[in-house]
């Protein structure tokens, strides 16, 4: 409630009757926008107490405002400022508001641009939305979350835990995550090697911010996960790009770069590369491990969807081989569960972990204790393994389905390689179908593709977008492809 007692000051020596002073003052506040349209006034009794006048005076004031249509009476709810009221003469609180800056904001050394992204396309509920590769929220453990919030015993324990100081994640979850990662990825880590973050995104941000300084040299692939590039640039680094072919990132190019000048860090997605979904070959992995040993640069290994694979077993992460603390391994439970359950992690050498925990605390004091607890339980009681199995079967089926559809119906317009795992197909449109035009036309036809479109200036082959299939039913995939057929025919 507004502090009416300080906003409305009654002057008993004034010739105007008190109720009229109050009326005028309230009109003034409404006009200035201080009391916005739709706001309910305090009841007459409460208002009278607030500004220490007789209740009758307030009733008179409200009646005056009613007569002048400033407020309206709502049955059993009281009086509110008329919602349709045109705000007359906006003054100090209206735009150009106090929040219109006159100073400059961008400051030296800070590179922070909005990444190149599709314009915000408002979606209608009838539209089909195709994302970048999200898990299907229908499989997500929302019922389990609901239960944990309801369960008296658990929630009383969680209420204690949430009041303790966070040290990079709930200890129970760090333990469980270590178990999970050791079992699935051939790592041999312990609780204290892990920092829990809000999704892999925060893990990349924290790692880059801890390790990079202005002027540092970072190598990434082209194309690459765009927000990773933005993070490196935001940390003050300059970026050199290496190519990627069907065997993964080009290690010869990396070798050439290293021969010329030292680099501080490589950001790489060896398992299912983003956006192309390409898996790095064993030979290239070996070559990379040798280069790390030879030149001693840091590597962010972003392994965001290790757990979904349809044909072969997954390839163990680079971080499972000896690397002398140079690899920072990053992953995400978000990709296993749902976009809103934002839990990722970074695994690194003790000195990096220590700095990461300190930086995380400055960014985000603690995580969501309920969600972290629920996730730890899922891992420990085996629900996570069952969830991954179930998801894998469904997504594998959907992967087959979309790839068949694309081959049958869209070969005139696109090229693609069936991914070995993950949640998206990398659609490369032929050069006569510029990706931005495709997205625009699709949007008008009821298909909203919210992934990041990739188009490399001067390279007609790089004209693509990811098609996330994991969260779509067969009906939705069919509709989406039919729209793409329609706009490319």
């Amino acid at each position: 409630m507004l502090p009416y007692d300080s906003l409305i000051v009654v002057d008993k020596e004034n010739q105007l009757p008190i109720y009229k002073q109050i009326t005028n003052r309230l009109i003034g506040l409404i006009q200035k926008g201080l009391i916005p349209p739709g706001t309910f006034f305090p009841g007459t009794r409460q208002m009278a107490e607030l500004i220490t006048v007789n209740r009758k005076t307030i009733i008179n004031a409200y009646e005056e405002l009613l007569t002048e249509d400033w407020i309206e009476s709502i049955d059993r709810k009281g009086y509110r400022v008329t919602p349709e009221l045109p705000v007359i003469k906006p003054r100090s609180f209206q735009p150009p508001s106090h929040f219109s800056s006159t100073g400059y904001v961008s400051s030296e050394g800070l590179i922070l641009q909005c990444p190149p992204q599709p314009e915000h396309r408002d979606t209608k509920s009838s539209d089909i939305v195709v994302n970048d590769g999200f898990p299907d929220p229908e499989l997500a453990p929302f019922k389990e979350i609901s239960k944990i919030y309801r369960d008296k015993g658990i929630s009383s324990r969680i209420k204690q835990l949430m009041c303790l100081r966070d040290q990079g994640g709930l200890p129970l979850l760090k333990d469980a995550a270590a178990l999970f990662l050791n079992e699935t990825r051939g790592l041999n880590i312990k609780k204290d090697d892990i920092v829990i973050t809000r999704g892999a995104q925060m893990a990349i941000y924290i790692t880059a911010t801890v390790l990079l300084s202005k002027g540092d040299h970072v190598v990434v692939t082209e194309p690459n996960y765009v927000f990773a590039n933005d993070i490196m640039e935001n940390a003050g680094a300059y970026i050199t790009k290496i190519g990627i072919d069907e065997e993964g990132p080009d290690m010869d190019q990396l070798d050439q770069i290293l021969k010329k000048s030292p680099i501080r860090m490589l950001y790489i997605v060896p398992h299912h590369h983003h956006p192309t979904t390409i898996t790095m070959s064993a030979a290239r992995r070996q070559k990379l491990l040798k280069l790390i040993e030879q030149y001693g640069f840091y590597v962010i290994e972003d392994d965001y969807d290790y757990d979904f694979y349809y044909k072969n077993s997954p390839i163990l992460p680079l971080a499972s081989a000896p690397h002398h603390g140079k690899i920072i391994y990053i992953g995400s439970f978000t990709k296993l569960l749902a976009p809103s359950i934002r839990i990722g992690y970074l695994i690194a050498a003790p000195d990096i972990v220590k700095k990461a925990i300190a930086l995380k605390r400055l960014i985000d004091l603690r995580g969501d204790t309920f969600i972290e607890y629920m996730l730890a339980q899922m891992i420990i009681n085996g629900d996570m393994a069952r969830h991954i199995n179930k998801s894998n079967k469904l997504y594998s089926h959907r992967c087959d389905f979309i790839c068949n559809l694309l081959t049958q119906k869209l070969s005139h317009a696109i090229e693609f390689t069936k991914p070995l795992g993950g949640m998206a197909v990398w659609l490369k449109f032929k050069s006569r179908f510029p990706i931005n035009r495709i997205l625009n036309d699709a949007s008008h036809a009821g298909l909203c593709m919210i992934g990041m479109p990739f188009r490399r200036p001067g390279d007609p082959n790089d004209n693509g977008i990811r098609f996330g299939f994991a969260s779509l039913s067969e009906e939705e995939m069919t509709k989406a492809v039919d729209i793409l057929v329609k706009i490319t025919s």
Copy 2:
């Protein structure tokens, strides 16, 4: 599951029987720690398929391992690596693990130290934990969260929303927050003036990172919210400190500083200062607004617990007065609800908002859609106002209770001023009770105070810690104070 098919390679030309090759290989993997103690093996049928041998071969291999006590059989669950197994001859995957760094981490230009903090004190469940000023989780809307996760209609809508690209918070929540802030704080803002963050902490981090560059000059109070200082230093700024007395931060000192050299930013907590809980006087506020106009520096107004006040109405924020976009107003719903419900916000000029949204996306792709939705509903349906009323009554009562206790029992050891609102009392211990010794003794006596102790070198008067009363029952407060009495007598 581990990729056994790539880990176990059978050599048919080898003289050893195949089952023995598999046995030896598995022992090797267990010894190296690649298969940690407690890991369940795949069933015999699945393992046989994985490495394409006869199932009987696997049964033989497992039996060999059982005989040698490498694994044990668990009824209806299968075989697992013996949990008590001493890991023999740890090699490549054991510590010193791959994550032991050999390189240096701290890099030029990056100031990132663990803040001075009390040592981690392990708490027993019998201990009384006194925090820095958290809301009582018993009042938190956890049942409502549970409901939203269960409700089919709502959760199907939320599942759509969580897949859309985040633009600084759920639009519904930004609308509701604008309504809430306009009604309670005399602001006149709209949805697009707000960025939703993970608590006020992330709002401070983002604002400072967007606005500050290396070498910028920032003014803060002494003492101050320690993590705010760390954020400023992490952003490369250097800090000058001004004092604070019973009327709030010393504006004459600020004036003196400004006369000598420009500053880029002031970080201030005018309402209930952290840690001292002092409310800035009207005269000082006016003086500050004049200085902002005259010198044009940015101000972070951290108003983390505006909504709790016990004697007077709250004082409207600085940001409700004209400030030409120079004030960034920061607040938190976390302080209203529970430490684990991390939702804060920043309100700023459009150019800052734009950059804040872009930086937020790099740090944290999206918020928790369920929690953001629930919070918006609470504001719109009036539950938030009722929750605040209820909390205010309870906390006001607890504030009276603790202050009476402190006066009666602890006057020999402390000084304090009863706060006008908020969730903590600032306890200044007399100089013969050094705060770190007090915390240590308290900890041994079963009282864990997890706030940040403040002690200014050379200033015997600055020797304090916040005592958060809002989340404690009368019984807990009595016990806590009795322990403080005991260790100071």
